[in-house]
Amino acid sequence: MEIAGIFKYLYELLAGSGLSQTWVDIIALVAAAVMVFGVLALIALFLVWWERKVSGHIQQRFGPMMTGWHGWRQTVADAVKLLQKEDITPSAVDRPVFYWAPIICFVAAFAAYVTIPFGKELIVSDLNIGILFIIAITTFTIISLLMAGWGSNNKYALLGGMRSAAQVVSYEVPMVVSVLAVVLFAGSLSMVDIVESQAKIYQWYIFRLPFGPIAFIIYIIAATAETNRTPFDIPEAEQELVAGFNIEYSGMKFAMFFLAEFVNMFTVSAIGTTLFLGGWQGPLLPSWIWFFIKTLALVFVFMLFRWTYPRLRVDQLMEFSWKFLLPVAFANLILAGWMKYSGWFNW
């Protein structure tokens, strides 16, 4: 069952209703945006619940159990609770910066989905610079974290904000370079083109030896850092900076940061799926189900990371990025370029 067909039908219905083409496009885009937003909000809630269950079972606990089947309503309750809570603004904060930070974070997290193909022909807008757009948009998160850290007027928050800026900037570079290897092979920046170039399972970029797996591992590491998750969660290191940049946030603003974190996790997994795991491609099942299966599998890997590993120190983190990850990523890029040029592994 392909959802794309339904959308196409609805679009044609709209187009046939006599509205001008501009209005049709606008309505279609708004509808798509609302739909994506809704789906992602649901996914974020699901991920929160799932993370709690996974962590619980890893630690031989149950996790939430009381509300609904295995506590599935727990995150809904938590989200509602957070939205209802008093929104405390400390007196010493820099108000505009403090207010805008969660909004930017939230918007940036969702905006990346404009160019992610959820399934065959299931994409809001197939930009021809898709991956570039995503990378540009996700980088917005740093600005919001920096704003949160600065605006909170709290030393812990400031340290957290500075750390996150340094960290995300450092890990952006190896991540882009590792992605570049894929782009090089696909010959396009468009997400749809990249997915279509991996039609067969052996064509998935993760299986394109030897450059594929290396690029994938670098991507996973950098993505973990990008999403501020253990072992790279130093911006909000609970045990050192208490909560880092979001220490002063409460209520709905905190909920925005919190949900944005999970949406970001889903984003990087979705990008990873698209770039390395063949996107929506897969037999039998509808394309969007394949997309979700692969993405959630990647999310699960991130969760395992989080619940297994200790946290790196801030200088070690930087060292790892600049002294190890980046050279390897460059070498890998050169390798990929050579492979493409020689055509040896170009199956």
């Binding site: 079972h57 890893i58 031989q60 395992l304 297994t308 590993y309």
Partner: protein, 225 residues
Amino acid sequence: MVKQLIDGIKNLVIGMMTTSKHLGRHAVTLQYPKEKWPMPERSRGVVVLLSDKETGKLNCTTCLLCARACPSSAITIKYEKDENKKRQLKDFIVDYNICCLCGLCEDACNFAAIKLAPKYEFSTLNKEDLIWHTDKLQEMGRDVPYEKPVKKKRPAPKPAAKSAAKPAPEPEAAKTDDKPAAEKTDKPEVKPEERKPEAKPEEKPKAETPAEKKTDDNKPDEEKK
């Protein structure tokens, strides 16, 4: 360098395997309000006053040993002396705000009158509710199993001998019945088997009238130690 890298990756993977191994195991925790852990018999959850199984009277002889043994002075015993200079228990108060549940009162008691029972869940929103009086302590202790102490070697005889010197006659026992909170007068040296025939029929109705008892307890206490 390369070896270090491979070692590092290997150990990271081993770590992940270990955690994911636990993923499939059953949880060791319990869903607390629904399931509860069986408390060991010795568990020190709450201080209770024990009463005699047959008569329903308190085992307490108002010897004040527990109050003295208490390291946080959580036990207050109110009593008055009757004409025989014997202490009559008026109120036995345990303040759970300061009780540290150490069990020294139980160790101090020679008459199996006070015990720490494996019960819990007594939290309240009001500090006043944590000050328990005789009736509540006794009610808590009704179903707590205990063993009558075999006569102890050294410390037990003292109070026992004292009360033995003045054997409580029948009419006096009847008199104390008016004050149900102050039941224990002739307990220690009289073996339960001996006392059974006479004491049982008299005491029974009293134990079943808690309302009467409560009103008595609420009376203001004149004497306090």
